[in-house]
């Protein structure tokens, strides 16, 4: 199986069987549960996750070595978290031998590229034991999120309970119970421009990739891609970490994932092509192709 969804061995709709995780997670709690299982089983001895930063809803990557630390990082924060910046430090002053990392498709590309050409990453490639990718249409700088929440949604950043993108809307849930939905048309201009050349929606290079799209509320779609990912996933299933449903039996199913992936790729492909003609007789390079 290939194409816009990348290569994968298995695709299911799943959610964590742990109520505590589900109560704090964005959707099915896949990332938190998978890392928790890997930590407890010794498959990894630490995971690079997006925790709480100095400002509300600003993620700060950190290395979680306990389940409590992992739990503190659950939930999606819709702006940039430089996960890969910690990958070397994890093997240095943290002394980790087996690292887990979660990230967006571009971050998975960076991780794999670093493993292939470990320039400045001496002794790091072999330490990466579990790379979990999350579906990503585009990302926002922190300032954009502040503007969307405070100006468009009219809410204070630190009074927000949850943010979500789904059903064609950007949802902001306040702690007092108010819900604001912004049409995605409004959010487009706040997107990070660099995202518009990305041709990967479902983290094709991760061991396991996951996201809410395609599954019912409270569930996540999971692609198990690599042999390593498959090993860990099947162990987690055997240990009863997840409830799963065949993806064919859930609504909206893979059809929607494929539709959104195709949309992202064809839209961004246009940007890539436009950029090639940008400027006078010297366009910007297609990041997916090597220099000529």
């Amino acid at each position: 199986m290939a194409g816009e969804l990348g290569k994968y061995k298995l695709c299911v709709s799943a959610r964590s069987s742990d109520k505590a995780i589900l109560s704090k997670s964005q959707d099915g709690g896949i990332v938190t549960q998978l890392f928790k299982f890997a930590l407890e089983e010794g498959i990894i001895d630490g995971a690079i996750v997006a925790g709480k930063g100095d400002e509300p809803w600003r993620p700060r990557p950190f290395i979680a070595t306990t389940v409590e630390e992992l739990m503190s990082a659950s939930g999606t924060k819709y702006n940039i978290s430089p996960q890969v910046s910690w990958i070397k430090e994890a093997t240095r002053s943290y002394g980790l031998d087996k690292i887990g990392i979660v990230g967006t498709p571009c971050q998975m590309q960076a991780v794999r590229k670093g493993q292939l050409y470990p320039v400045g990453l001496r002794d790091v490639p072999d330490c990466i034991k579990l790379a979990v990718g999350i579906f990503c249409m585009e990302n926002f700088p922190y300032q954009s999120i502040v503007q969307l929440v405070e100006d468009h949604a009219g809410m204070r950043m630190d009074a927000v309970k949850k943010m979500e993108i789904g059903k064609g809307k950007f949802w902001v849930y306040g702690q007092r119970g108010q819900v604001v939905q912004l049409p995605l048309k409004v959010t487009h201009k706040y997107e990070q421009p660099g995202c518009h050349v990305c041709l990967d929606y479902v983290a094709n290079l991760a061991d396991v990739s996951t996201g809410s799209v395609g599954s019912p509320d409270g569930w996540s779609t999971v692609f198990v891609r690599t042999k390593n990912g498959d090993d860990i996933w099947s162990k987690a299933i055997a240990a009863g970490c997840f409830e799963t449903k065949p993806i064919e039996q859930v609504k909206p199913g893979l059809e929607l994932v494929t539709k959104l992936a195709t949309e992202k790729i064809s839209k961004n492909q246009k940007t890539v092509e436009e950029r090639a003609k940008f400027g006078v007789s010297k366009g910007l390079r297609n990041p997916y192709l090597g220099p000529k």
Binding site: R92, S93, D97
Partner: protein
Amino acid sequence: MSKIVEISPTTRHEGHSKLVLKVDDAGIVERGDWLSITPVRGVEKLAIGKTMDQVPKIASRVCGICPIAHTLAGVESMEASIRCEIPKDAKLLRIILQSANRLHSHALHNILTLPDMYLPGTDTKINPFTPQEPVRSVAKRIQRLREIGQTIGQIAGGEAIHPSNPRVGGMYKACTPQAKNKMYDLAKEGLTLAHEQMDFMIAILRNFQKRDWAEVAGKQIPIPKKLGYHNQGYMASHPLYGSSSLDSNPGWDPQRWTDVRPWDWYMGEGEVSLADPSYPVGGTSPVGTKVNPQMEACTGVPLYDGAPVEVGPRARLVKFKNFDEKGTIGQQVARQMEYTDSVYSILNALDEYNPNGKILADHIPQGDGSLGWAANEAPRGTDVHLAKVKDGRVLYYEMLVPTTWNFPTCSQALAGAPWQLAEIVVRGYDPCVSCATHMIVIDEDKKIVAQKLIQ
């Protein structure tokens, strides 16, 4: 009548150097000149005007074998100039880094020097894939020791080569308890291996000492009993770590240091009159080759109390532990004796290290331009960096690198040896030539009298 032999380049050490030897009819060296022909880098010039945080990082790039020593000496010379004391836990991390560097560097030297000694199967190189024992297990042990040293170094220092963690005022990152445990486990494993390797190496070296001849290019070359003897003094600042101008009792004195220009020290123009095409590797320079060590040497000649001195493992052991064995083998034995010391010092430092402790000084002064120096006991000897920092910028920077001190001393130690064994004497110093290449010459009145090659 004496003849001139030239071995260029010398092999199995870091950098690019050559030997010009005046030998008698029996092939015994009357006068030996060992000189660096690695081009001058000019790091001292590059440093001027840069910030005090940048310069130690630039300085460490002078070499890939002992960048840890250069980083530490560089950082500490800045701290000495601005008079900044670092917290205890930062110092402990630096001690771990320093010892880890010594562990892997000494192991590397074993690979370079073992083919000179008598060990079946190592005639040309130490090969971990050979089916022959004991070479195979020795090579694997050396590899593992190096791996342990480098891994501990990269945990404590951020990177095993060009460490990123040391900074002016302390360290950037503290090690977590988990990292501390990992280092401890590695050091425990390394301790057993270090004991084994030390015993093995000393046995090999003693065996060489008892032999009457060594085989070079198929010929039996007699080994003199006084191979590598010299009458120069020793210089060491500390048994393990180093010293700086901030110490109440500094281990080094800049007032006792002067320089001589190479053209006042080395042999003048000459012509090769003895050649041996079978000498490994590729033969010596052919008869008729012009040599001119005076002008070819790329180092100044530093003197301590007006004479060349030896630095390195033996100097440390002589100065601080009453070691008294002379010659090349004595020097090599001293190096092996440092194996276990370096692992014990890692373990002791880890015992004391507190992962939650402070690693950065509260206040980092920006400097008033006064001279500070720091001597670091690198694997190869005392590595002194001198600096003047004013308002956070470097006004003056100087590196006095171990092998620079050893060049003139080793040249004297060559006399009396058959010329075929000259390289064995050179390798005994574990030379690291490329970082030794500097050219600022300072006379008795502390005036710079030559900057010939870097102007």
